[in-house]
């Protein structure tokens, strides 16, 4: 017991030996080094006695980790018949760090109601807020009310589009576009 506290309260740095692999299994932010478990980041050691696992809880801002249910922000870079590709640039909870992965939104995961073609929901360049369904492969959904397009630009004149009823309107050329709009559209926050 005493030893546990001793291990747990200490700040560890990359490379610091925590314990041997006979005692615990290496968990997150650790690595195995010739029979020893070492930390790979600056953090605090956390023991999981049930699983006999050792984790290091980060004290630093770590690069974004994308998990199931993570909320992500990105730009639509590609439209196919049955899915859209989102280039994820930010992950909620890690706003100060850039992310760089691509995820797909299948047409069935765009909204609750039927959608005929994908271009009725997204266009290339739209900024979209989405939720992660699964991590590997990275699949996303925008079904919830607060998910979907949160900023879009007129494909004709480049003007930022304004919310108008259920669609988006360009105030310069008056064209109206259909999208899967998030209720946060134009609010200006992630």
């Amino acid at each position: 017991m005493e030893k546990k506290i001793e291990i747990e309260e200490k700040i560890v740095l990359p490379g610091d030996f925590i314990c041997t692999t006979e005692e615990y299994v290496p968990g997150s932010n650790t690595y195995n080094n010739e029979g020893g478990i070492c930390s790979s980041i600056i953090g605090i050691v956390k023991l999981d006695d049930k699983l006999h696992k050792i984790d290091v809880l980060p004290l630093v801002m770590v690069p974004p980790e994308i998990k199931q249910d993570s909320i992500v922000l990105g730009k639509i870079i590609l439209l196919k018949n049955s899915f859209a590709v989102l280039n994820i640039e930010r992950v909620k909870g890690y706003e100060n760090r850039s992310a760089n992965v691509e995820g797909t939104i299948h047409i069935s995961n765009i909204q609750l109601t039927y959608i005929k073609t994908i271009d009725k929901a997204f266009n290339v360049g739209d900024i979209v807020k989405a939720k992660v369904i699964s991590n590997n492969p990275l699949r996303l959904t925008t079904r919830d009310k607060n998910l979907g397009v949160i900023k879009a630009f007129c494909p004709v004149c480049g003007e930022a589009l304004e919310k108008k009823g259920k669609g988006l309107k360009c105030s310069r050329c008056n064209t109206i576009y259909q999208r899967k709009i998030s209720e946060d559209y134009g609010w200006g926050m992630f």
């Binding site: 922000l73 990105g74 730009k75 640039e89 930010r90 706003e95 850039s98 900024i127 949160i150 900023k151 930022a160 134009g186 609010w187 200006g188 926050m189 992630f190």
Partner: protein, 268 residues
């Protein structure tokens, strides 16, 4: 900015909404500057130096002096060369490579204020007419970019010049180094337009949200000694007198902060 941050694009709407209500993202008034912090002489190896923090925007100016040939059309005048480096350490959008148009514009605005206010007496920098003059290199190193590099850099440059000693001994000109004589303190004041309001000392999000910025450089006498409209936006003519009034006002305040920093430095 070439690869603007996705969050900036999102925040634009937020900033506009705030400004419409008379507010700013960090709670400042429209003509209020962020905290200004001036460190005089941090680089001992330079002839003069200063580091200016404008909120979290951070600029280091270093002055180096060398002997060189004068320009043929001004044989009895020293030479000022101002250069700005937007090093990739300062912002995720800065890329390594030779100065781009933004860096060059920045350096030229800073240079313009110093030159047209006659802050440095170029006649005094002549050593041998037509042959040898002092060349004053003002190098601006941007360390942290959080908006309004122009004002921070201009302030760092003039502060560094105040701190500059002409290296007479190093070049065998004289047996003593002497202070570079400074005749004026030009202060640059920059505002950006958001929803028809002009907002001074824009932070990065405000800068990215706006389409146009106006820099007005003010001499110690309250005259204008340089201007620059930057960005694709438009400025209604009738708004200009108000902006200039504010600039004169701000210029005076910032000049006092600089003089105080210089005073403290001398006493230390």
């Amino acid at each position: 900015m070439s690869s603007e941050d996705i969050l900036s694009e999102i925040r634009r709407d937020y900033i506009y909404r705030l400004v419409r209500n008379g507010e700013r993202i960090d709670g400042r008034k429209f003509d209020e500057y962020r905290e200004i912090n001036i460190e005089i002489g941090p680089i001992e190896r330079a002839e003069g130096s200063a580091r200016v923090k404008l909120g979290t925007t951070d600029v280091l100016a270093g002055v180096k002096m060398q002997i060189g040939e004068p320009f043929p059309d001004t044989p009895d005048q020293g030479v000022i060369i101002t250069n700005a480096e937007l090093i990739p350490l300062a912002s995720p959008t800065f890329e390594p490579g030779p100065p781009d148009e933004n860096a060059i514009e920045l350096a030229r605005i800073v240079d313009r204020g110093i030159r047209s206010s006659n802050a440095i007496d170029l006649d005094k920098l002549c050593i041998d007419p037509g042959k040898e003059v002092w060349m004053v290199f003002i190098d601006l190193h941007i360390l942290d970019h959080n908006g309004n590099l122009v004002d921070a850099s201009s302030l760092a440059a003039i502060a560094a010049l105040f701190n500059t000693k002409i290296p007479n001994t190093k070049f065998g000109i004289d047996k003593d180094d002497e202070r570079l004589a400074i005749n004026d303190i030009p202060i640059a004041t920059t505002s950006t337009e958001i929803d028809n309001n002009f907002i001074f000392d824009p932070c990065l999000d405000e800068e990215n949200a706006a389409n146009v910025a106006l820099t007005v450089i003010i001499t110690s006498k309250g005259e204008l000694c340089g201007m620059q409209k930057s960005g694709i936006g438009r400025i209604p003519v009738e708004t200009l007198p108000n902006i200039i009034d504010s600039s004169i006002n701000m210029g005076e305040k910032i000049r006092k902060i600089l003089l105080k920093a210089l005073e403290n430095n001398i006493t230390v």
